[in-house]
Symmetry: C3
Subunit: 289 residues, 3 copies
Amino acid sequence: VTTVSRFQCISLLTDYGLQDGFVASCHGVLARLAPGVHVIDVTHLVPPGDIRRGAAVLAQTLPSLPHGVHIAVVDPGVGTLRRSLALVAGDHVLVGPDNGLLPPAAEVLGGVGPAYEITSGAAMLQPVSHTFHGRDVFAPAAARLAAGELTVAALGPEVPVDELVQLPMPLASAGDGWAQAEVVTVDRFGNVQTALRAGRLAGAGFALGDVASISAGGVRHPVRYAETFGSVPKGALVLYVDSAGYISVARNGGDAARLLGARPGSLVRIRAGASGTEAYGHALRPPGI
Amino acid sequence: VTTVSRFQCISLLTDYGLQDGFVASCHGVLARLAPGVHVIDVTHLVPPGDIRRGAAVLAQTLPSLPHGVHIAVVDPGVGTLRRSLALVAGDHVLVGPDNGLLPPAAEVLGGVGPAYEITSGAAMLQPVSHTFHGRDVFAPAAARLAAGELTVAALGPEVPVDELVQLPMPLASAGDGWAQAEVVTVDRFGNVQTALRAGRLAGAGFALGDVASISAGGVRHPVRYAETFGSVPKGALVLYVDSAGYISVARNGGDAARLLGARPGSLVRIRAGASGTEAYGHALRPPGI
Amino acid sequence: VTTVSRFQCISLLTDYGLQDGFVASCHGVLARLAPGVHVIDVTHLVPPGDIRRGAAVLAQTLPSLPHGVHIAVVDPGVGTLRRSLALVAGDHVLVGPDNGLLPPAAEVLGGVGPAYEITSGAAMLQPVSHTFHGRDVFAPAAARLAAGELTVAALGPEVPVDELVQLPMPLASAGDGWAQAEVVTVDRFGNVQTALRAGRLAGAGFALGDVASISAGGVRHPVRYAETFGSVPKGALVLYVDSAGYISVARNGGDAARLLGARPGSLVRIRAGASGTEAYGHALRPPGI
């Protein structure tokens, strides 16, 4: 059993939003119980209760963070019998509800488990409210781990990793000249991230510079497989490997999600060869021609 | 007179929003004048000029924070004759305009006063602008308190506490089988916080598990008095004691404020016994029946 | 050549928004490569790709910050041949794309240059993505500067300052009894900042207390030249020197941008003497009359 004992960094992801004092209450608890530990906000704008979105942002962001204790709270079941977890992942510990939010991040951090249910009253702030476990359970437990005051094993009984709640895997498949996949996230710029990992397009016979067509259930649009936004003319679509290693779709200077009508969970279909509307034809000529 | 001389934490609540550089300017001043002091953002999304909202969030969040100097700036009267205050509250100091924003927080922190008007030029950044006292008056005064460079008494003359501007108290009353109260806040999830303190429902004869009806001026809805969101079926309303100790209304997996048509300042009426629309009847059966 | 070697502060301005993990990824890189350095977020809500807005907020905020390395990323050309820059400005270093974002801030910080193109692989995180230079180029370069691990001159070849991309200067002119200027920013409160520096109204013969008329292409409104919002009655317009030293227009208790129909880039015209609609006449009587 890993006995990680001290961390210089705590991170915090929630669906609490920024207009209330909930995030600050958690920061206050961390500052009181683990003074001097560096706190990084991952995001607090996960849509209320959207566990899949929270899990995706967490898994894609934590690899850039220092070793630490990472709190994630998207927790529609707060105060019910759902378990509170501390999940060891390589040199990190993830803390949050057992609802599928944590395991994808644990995997990219290098290992899922061991896992512990947080049951120790000494880990929590008493009295524990029924609706704000971020402040009363997860932040204090994380702070006490980071401060070296408690070990993960002291938080409560071990939970077999194969009993943890898991999210369904997003769909992703590809064959000769085609690929289809669920949309995992849409970012602020309207870039559409699919569940296809970087190598899948090459495996399906697509080469950098190729033109394909793409749809998310609506009109098909031409798209070029290239390196970055500026690789295609303004207004044109580009398929690229994004900074988290997924195949994504962007519109240079625009919003691909809006153009495609794509949302998280939408199915995106990619087919070799241009067959989109003529209106976009000109936009796919390489710059300078 | 309290002569608190050094603080490890400064917090900051404003209505400045996050799209401009105003918050960062305050952080910059704090970093320059009190290097090494930990700064916690309470929120910067108080609606512009909404003193009551700012006062409520401040009073409900500060009890989770470390002892410190707490800056609050919701200040439509900036640059006029309204006073700038440093208000001692237990082991904390509150800094901000004298417009009602600070006293509710001072009360929950364990004491209102003594209070001082900030008039000392040495506390401010010169020249003082007429429209940005967060940067030029409140942040530098707070930084100098936290750094131990100035005492509160050195900021300016004492102001009798009973001369401080006070907000009107929100309405809250309850009797046998009924309660009514003003809505204090609505949070990101649409949870509706009333001005009723935790014990008022019990005092009016309500017991955990009871079904009541509720309205905010529109349609009456059935609601169960319970511990947490998941205590009622998806889509149903729940009355509960929230994490700040107030009676609140939530909709499991939904937005209670939208369903009720409730906003801060709305009057919420609660009556013992179910008498809502039949459409919600099924939703109030306990899970498993 | 300046060889600034160590900074206690790093700041960060982007158009990444707050709902994704992009900002946290940059914070993570900074915490890993420059542990202990204080990080200040300027804003992350620059509208996507809006370089002028980013440049204005940066130039107006950095003067309040400690000496440091300031990262700014509004970068629609990421991954193309646009240069990555480290631009020395007095005792500060600015890091970001060569697209006009940095020079206005460099000027207010006391000097533009020398400038260096960031080309050293040792400054970056390998492998460098094509779409996230905030994480892979700018944050690591800034962290290594702040940590004293690299000097600016070690980042890459010097670039002549007169070859840097520059934004066009906003229009601003004034004569006897009139002034006109482009709108530089509109803030959260709807305050309209023009490109006129503080002294320009006085130079055009306006004195504090004077009534003028103003339009942004639509209806003309009366406005008083005064010190602060509360210098005019509720609902009335006020011309004032804002906290960054520009002539701005506010509406006491309201939103001047909405009333005027003004946006960044709009042309605002100011003319001595009241000639607006009668509806506003009463609002301009001094308080108490």
